[in-house]
Symmetry: C2
Subunit: 392 residues, 2 copies
């Protein structure tokens, strides 16, 4: 099944911008328009407004690409072996052949990305930099190169039915990790052990689940007041510190299933929570539920944020919720649109997917955050991969 709605939408956007073709190398964008999530970041997709796309792919990943590609023609080049040409020249030749005789005047490419979702091989990102631009320059010799980073972000903000189904799967798989965390977050365990176990369970049990072919998790578990209430940080750091009775454990979890992402957070207390901890947890849970309930097309990011923030403020914890309520998610762990934050006047639209993640952080109570990914539906919202929230 191909994601026709995405291809149609992108071609309309290209028409509006008078773009004849796109040349894309970031794995997330190759996936977006070809269906193939590159094993390593060496694949380049040429996506013309008219005609069949061509995807330059290392020959050693022919099997995986052939299973995944929609309409794009695969152009395999020998890679990583002694008789392979220099990859840049192989890609240049494929791109030039795709462009030959087409008279393209404007070709879009990725110049301003900064934040990158990795390929399957997350230990080594490959990204388009100066050399890739030279390759495009040589391959599309008569065309103007146009940075489409922003266009791609805007187009990506509303997910198609195909993409929604894929992102939902990533969230469903993430619940394997939430369940493991719930089961294992007991006194005596270290943050490192918990994070490693959550990652293992998601990879081992999530692969193959709901048809997912490649699954990987990035878990961080902070424990105790000093680590969890450091203020707030986008990514926790798991350490050897062992959970003590009464400590908070906070799991920050990114999960990728075939290139589509989920972003979840859960918090537990080892043993008996204090009255303060229970009250904070209950407040955060109510704030999250209120934000999710406020989500529907036409509502602004600020309104959803305020739905959560007002509950936290009313409970007396306003000063301890220092971050935004949510961000786009799906083609990456974090996307720039939408944004649930004070001052965000833009309206939510059907098909957007956003994290909803209020949090309260202070000592000695600890840091408490709950995060789920929520789809904006025609009439309201759907929380992906539903999973309980319980402190103990």
């Amino acid at each position: 099944m191909q994601n026709q709605e995405r291809l149609d939408r992108m071609r309309r956007a290209m028409e509006a911008e008078r773009l004849d073709a796109l040349a894309l190398r970031l794995p997330e964008n190759v996936l977006l328009l070809s269906g193939f999530w590159p094993m390593i970041g060496a694949s380049v997709l040429v996506f013309p407004r008219e005609g069949r796309p061509v995807c330059a792919i290392p020959h050693c990943y022919e099997y995986e690409a052939s299973l995944a590609l929609w309409e794009a023609e695969a152009a395999y080049f020998r890679y990583g072996v002694l008789d392979a040409p220099e990859p840049g020249s192989a890609i240049r030749d494929i791109l030039a052949a795709a462009a030959r005789g087409k008279g393209w005047r404007r070709v879009g490419y990725e110049a301003d990305f900064e934040v990158v979702a990795p390929s399957w091989n997350s230990g080594e990102a490959q990204v388009p930099a100066a050399r890739t631009r030279e390759i495009y320059r040589a391959a599309f010799e008569r065309a103007e190169l146009v940075d489409v980073s922003s266009l791609l972000q805007v187009q990506r903000r509303r997910k198609t039915a195909y993409e929604i189904a894929k992102i939902r799967i990533a969230s469903e798989i993430s619940t394997i990790g939430l369940e493991a965390f719930e089961r294992l977050a007991i006194a005596g365990r270290s943050g490192v052990e918990l994070a490693a176990e959550v990652e293992r369970e998601i990879m081992a049990r999530g692969t193959g689940h709901l048809g997912a072919f490649r699954v990987r998790a990035y878990a961080q578990v902070a424990t105790g007041p000093d680590e969890t209430a450091v203020g707030y940080r986008p990514n926790e750091v798991s350490t050897l510190r062992r959970l003590e009775r009464g400590d908070v454990a906070l799991l920050e979890l990114g999960v990728v299933a075939d290139g589509y992402w989920a972003d979840r957070t859960r918090v537990r207390v080892a043993g008996e929570p204090t009255e303060d901890q229970s009250k904070v947890f209950d407040t955060v849970r109510r704030a999250q539920a209120a934000a999710a309930a406020a989500i529907r097309p036409g509502v602004s990011g600020a309104e959803v944020d305020e739905a959560a923030r007002s509950i936290i403020r009313d409970a007396g914890y306003g000063a301890y919720f220092p971050h935004i309520t949510g961000h786009g998610v799906g083609f990456g762990y974090h996307e720039s649109m939408p944004k649930l934050a004070p001052g965000e006047t833009g309206a939510l639209e059907e098909g957007m997917v956003t994290s909803v993640e209020p949090g309260v952080y202070f000592k000695p109570c600890g840091g408490f955050r709950i995060e789920d990914d929520v789809l904006v539906t025609a009439s309201g919202s759907e929380t992906f991969g539903p999973f309980r929230n319980s402190l103990t």
Copy 2:
């Protein structure tokens, strides 16, 4: 302890290139010259030829940075919270303040990197793209911006004593995964399970080992002739396929410990190997030992490659060893220098670290590769993280 030799060497290289300062954002290069391996890729290091470096760092990672930084002054900016400035403007202001009154004429930056070692948060790379260049342009208004990607690669090829100690630790930690693989690669296990378990053991048992603070592994396990002898691919793909008796299992393993890398490969047969399998394994093992024994300063990459290749050729498997014998490793999973390959006439130098990884791949025998990381010493070589090679 600071890596003074690295700082001195880099300043000499900057003098030769008439560079007044460097502005570096790739996590691997921030680590190289500051001692701090960024938690996320939002830190930028200004490294002047004369005077004290300044590192712009998100405030929420102050604790980790303060433990790690050598001579650089930390300039923390609020990040990820509601009252934070736009990160670009915060970084620009810090850079501009560092440059003020210095009269810098040439500032080096990273334009042509393509292959990137991730930050600790490998689920989301942050890299310098068009926007970062604009920030540099604004901060260093009177200076010429010079791409130093190649200079950095060249400087990085020879590791200092400090760096060698760190890379050795990553290799030592990788043996935890090699041991787990050896123990678990039995009939009935899937590639995904083996990879997940190897990663978990390295993270859970490797963190804290030999003083490593943050440890992560990227494991891939291919099983059976179709997956292991697909030809050759730089990164395997773990699947749900279960090892059958007589099957090969091949582990490709990247390990990062505080920003320094190891790259290892081991191969096992579940049950009793065939005569062919034993012969191939023995050939690859002898080839690897011969290449390691050939390594010393002054020898060319081609000579080391030939030491391995000739043994494989003489055994009749020459056509089944399609890739190079080794590549640089240490600041990333793969580095461009040195290269052990036919035609590589450049001499090895003391302080280089290279993988040594001959392999033979054909069906129905399967794919066999053995890989260790080897240091070029004054008089010969040292294999890091020694660990046995046994097929069963």
